[in-house]
Symmetry: C2
Subunit: 318 residues, 2 copies
């Protein structure tokens, strides 16, 4: 089963979302037009819109309503990536230069602000106050998560709980909200809204944990950036954190990790260590929870699709 | 007539807004708590909340509703200042170190994001869809204005229209929206909403133009930053632009303006030139329009207060 097969029934609607994304960032301001369309063309899996549309299947599915949720969620995600790249000093994302690399940090800051503002403007077309409340709460959590990420750079004292809280804010919450808002926008019953939130949250956790594994196991070609990028930037993820905790020479470990001349050795050490298997088991535990959450939804093709996406995320190699 | 006299009837409600601002930024995240409360304590005139409350007088005045507009508008303004200070490399604002100076650019970026997100969360308590639509449109315009400001740094080719468009986005729009949303939140009649928007827009233009005059005529003590700060940062405002257009040695003029060793001479030249009087007349024209817009509102104490604020803005020295 490929992801494309799951997406097949949504092909026309996803094309529509793509066109709406294009329209959303359209502006007469030449710099913003260039930076925003650079971002849009750099691609991305568009998983947030996919989750919105799937969530919408549990209510009265209507792409003309769902687009007002799907487009803002993808834009909010994009805006957060532009600001993340400033924080991480990232030169590449998905194999393409980041906005901060191709232009500069200031332009990246305002490109993020602009895309974010456009997201809000589109979401404002929907009148259900729950949507605004849920969306704004998620954005607050994300912004706290981003500052936590700065604070936790090169912090080897953090524990598993710390790591989980950070990726919850960084990734899981917005995916949970994508599933949830798709359901709310189409008037799905409350029980479905709750199950979809729970499903999305657990899938999102698994997704980010898998990302953190792939950052070590992938190669530059599939990742679009050098392997071990997180650690190079001082962003300590679970595979490295586990190895550090297990190490009998913890001080030595993080001294090497902060030395650019030694970082390759540390990355190799993590690539060959047991941290990856431990992290993989954790991802699987979240996937199991995601699948269990699906029990709260009516059986059928749409629920099956959610199950398949969850399993795909567990197995993905990019 | 002092501003304090106009504000007197709102004293209790403005104290409430101040407490709500404090609560709004409260977070367990220690860095954000410090940066956000540093910003809040740095003060500010809180004119956006004042305009919200005054706008609310033309409907069924209710501070418990108005706070959901007044607090977000002040927070959005604060968030935009933090990002502005990054762009302008500003060390001081209101006599206190900026977030980017006291911490760094990255922390300033996320502090802005966080405060902005909190603003949205509070505004989400109101269910009138017009509020979200108006607010999000204003935010889009502001973000475009900010990138225009970067683009226009050291650009002496810009004309008056260019300058006006920039300050419209930078300042006038959010003040217009403050007056307008105060009225909408309290169910004021449409004609009052329109008049208040028009009043706010023109007051906002006059306010920013006056700011741009004071940046040259003020001293470091009243400004909280060195005189001529705008020009030092490459931000070309009307007094300097006018002198440049009138100059028979325009090339020489902007060469000197971009030379840190010569900038004091250029600032002196603007301080003693006719650009200030020209700019002052323009501010007065906007104030006249603001006062004319008040004709669309029912006569009485609240309309008088709006007139007094407009006149105060025309005469202010800080």
């Amino acid at each position: 089963m490929k992801l494309a097969d799951i997406f097949f029934p949504f092909r026309a609607d996803m094309n529509k979302i793509e066109r709406e994304l294009d329209r959303a960032i359209d502006t007469a301001e030449p710099v913003l037009q260039k930076t925003a369309s650079h971002l849009l063309k750099a691609g991305g899996k568009r998983i947030r819109p996919v989750f919105v549309l799937l969530g919408g299947k549990f209510g009265a599915y209507d792409i003309e309503r769902l687009k007002y949720v799907a487009v803002p969620l993808e834009l909010i995600h994009m805006a957060s990536l532009v600001h993340d790249d400033v924080i991480d000093d990232a030169e590449l994302r998905r194999g393409k230069p980041t906005v901060k690399a191709k232009w500069d940090n200031k332009i990246a800051m305002y490109t993020g602000d602009y895309i974010f503002a456009r997201a809000l403007m589109i979401a404002a077309e929907l009148t259900d106050p729950r949507i605004h409340r849920i969306l704004s709460r998620a954005i607050v959590e994300m912004s706290i998560g981003e500052i936590e990420q700065i604070r936790d750079f090169n912090n080897w004292d953090q524990g598993l709980r710390h790591y989980l809280r950070r990726i919850r804010r960084k990734t899981a919450l917005l995916i949970a909200v994508s599933c949830q808002l798709g359901a709310i926008a189409t008037g799905a019953p409350d029980s479905a809204v709750r199950s979809l939130y729970l499903y999305g949250y657990n899938v999102g956790m698994a997704f980010q944990i898998t990302d953190d594994i792939l950052d070590f196991t992938g190669d530059e070609k599939t990742l679009g950036k050098p392997a071990g990028s997180d650690l190079r930037q001082g962003n300590i993820t679970l595979p490295a954190l586990y190895m550090h905790k297990q190490s009998t020479h913890a001080d030595e470990f993080h001294r090497l990790a902060e030395d650019p001349a030694q970082i390759e050795r540390v990355i190799e050490f993590v690539r060959n260590g047991e941290g990856l298997a431990f992290t993989q088991r954790l991802a699987e535990r979240y996937l199991d929870r995601a699948l269990a959450a699906l029990d709260g939804l009516p059986a059928g093709r749409d629920r099956d699709a959610l199950g398949k996406i969850a399993r795909f995320i567990g197995e993905r190699k990019f």
